[in-house]
């Protein structure tokens, strides 16, 4: 099988891998790097459960081909913890009870992280707009929006 060599930064670590040309970034993360925070739900880019931040932009990793990420800087939910301390978003999600079944959570947090990185104090309307990119089938949106609001105050 023909493979391709890709080098990228993931959660502050440099990684070089041989990937299949038709492999998705989600498969690379979950199956090659054991980073199972990003989840596969729809696999078609509709739900957002597989969202990771690539070069500052939240991307649905199920739609990104592994060879495309050569040279990229990727942050997954596993990379949010710094020096043993959780990210304010993770703290807020726990404290506000913004997790029900948990399947959408890592995608929600990564989408929210990209929002807070580009806009430190988003309005509630902006948070709702951004979060609506991701689907929570437990429909726990209210708590999720509250958690993002809370996290923005802690930053």
């Amino acid at each position: 099988m023909k493979t391709m060599k890709v080098t990228f930064q993931i959660n502050d670590e440099k990684v070089t891998l041989l990937v299949k040309p038709y492999e998705t970034l989600l498969e690379t993360l979950r199956e090659r790097l054991a980073l199972t925070g990003a989840k596969e739900a729809c696999g078609m880019g509709a739900c957002g459960a597989c969202t990771v931040v690539v070069n500052g932009i939240p991307l649905r990793s199920c739609l990104v081909l592994a060879p495309e990420i050569d040279g990229a800087n990727i942050v997954t939910v596993e990379g949010l913890r710094k020096d043993g301390k959780l990210h304010p978003l993770q703290e807020a999600f726990m404290e506000k009870g913004a997790v029900q079944c948990g399947f959408c959570t890592s995608g929600m947090i990564m989408t929210a992280k990209a929002l807070l990185d580009r806009n430190k104090r988003p309005t509630k309307k902006e948070i709702v707009r951004t979060i609506s990119s991701n689907i929570c089938r437990c429909t726990g949106y209210k708590k999720i929006v509250e958690a993002v609001e809370d996290a923005s105050k802690r930053l």
Binding site: P21, T24, E40, G45, I57, L63, L65, S132, S133
Partner: protein, 314 residues
């Protein structure tokens, strides 16, 4: 969902992309944001031997203003285009449609060129291979008849770009580059009306630029969908008003957007256009709302959009 096997090539220039396409003897697909192509490949609806990534082509990521035109590179993402101050100021219909396209995260990935050249959609078409095999292949999949309108030897799939209708109201042109050279055509002439090949593109042609005449317009875009957060349009209406004249374009129903030119935006002219658009729209049972409702909403949205433009006085 696992992707079938293909090769991946990345082009650094338009010429290189075209050369790669020629090398692959027509068995390649161009990839930009991938929000349309990757799901189609996963479902087996597109079967490229090689995927040629256009994202490395820097010249396609530029928005520039020259000689009375706004030239938008085809690889500009919907999100970046939406946030360009010129778009909001000069082309409110385009701003509206960009803002209404899918969700924010996908706007950051999807490109304007890819949005225009997205494949047409149908509830009986965008399904897994197993689902489609059980049902029997339709006209668009290479079968003999339509699975929605029994006996029909044509395709009734819907063209679901939000931004093509608004660009058409702005008299946009598109620049294409391919093995036979470059050409520039009006956006509305890009549609064939044939579901098997919805775009009048030569093999290997790349949409490189979208050109909009730099004229200040008033405008708006209204869209019918079930979930406001993400859905494709079930009907989309764009309106751009320049002076007394208005250009209206209806998308989301059928294989190509429909354009209506209004000499004025008086009540009689608007009513006439709404009735004509209603009569022209031929929705079938291939989307998540009933055809009767969608047909009715064509006229309603057309009137609503014009009213919005006049009220806001943008």
């Amino acid at each position: 969902m696992v992707l079938p096997k293909f090769e991946y090539k990345k082009a650094q220039s338009v010429a290189e992309a075209v050369a790669l396409y020629k090398e692959q003897k027509g068995k390649a697909q161009y990839l930009a944001g991938g929000t349309d192509l990757i799901p189609l490949v996963k479902l087996g609806l597109s079967t490229p031997k090689t995927v040629i990534d256009l994202k490395g082509i820097e010249e396609l990521k530029v928005i520039s203003r020259r000689d009375g035109w706004l030239a938008i590179g085809a690889n500009v993402t919907l999100f970046n285009l939406k946030n360009d101050p010129l778009v909001m100021k000069y082309f409110p219909a385009l701003y509206g449609s960009l803002d209404a396209t899918s969700c924010e995260t996908l706007q950051m990935r999807g490109t304007i060129g890819g949005n225009i050249l997205q494949d047409t959609r149908c509830l009986e078409y965008n399904q897994s291979r197993e689902w489609r095999t059980a049902r029997g292949f339709c006209f668009k999949m290479g079968g003999k008849e339509c699975n929605v309108v029994k006996g029909a030897r044509a395709c009734f799939s819907n063209y679901c770009s939000d931004n093509a209708p608004s660009l058409i109201t702005l008299s946009a042109q598109v620049k294409l580059a391919g093995p036979k050279g470059e050409r520039t055509v009006k956006l509305e002439s890009l549609y064939t009306g044939d579901g098997r090949k919805p775009f009048a593109l030569e093999a290997g042609e790349i949409l490189t630029q979208i050109l909009i005449p730099m004229k200040k317009t008033k405008g708006a875009y209204e869209k019918l969908r079930v979930r406001d957060s993400i859905d494709y349009p079930l009907v989309g209406v764009a309106v751009s008003v320049t002076g007394a004249r208005a250009r209206v374009c209806v998308g989301g129903v059928g294989l190509a957007p429909r354009v209506y030119d209004l000499k004025n935006v008086g009540d009689a002219a608007v009513k006439e256009a709404a009735e004509k658009a209603y009569a022209d729209a031929r929705p079938v049972t291939n989307a998540t709302l009933t055809p009767v409702y969608r047909k009715k909403m064509v006229g309603v949205l057309l009137k609503r959009t014009i009213k919005k433009v006049l009220q806001e006085g943008k």
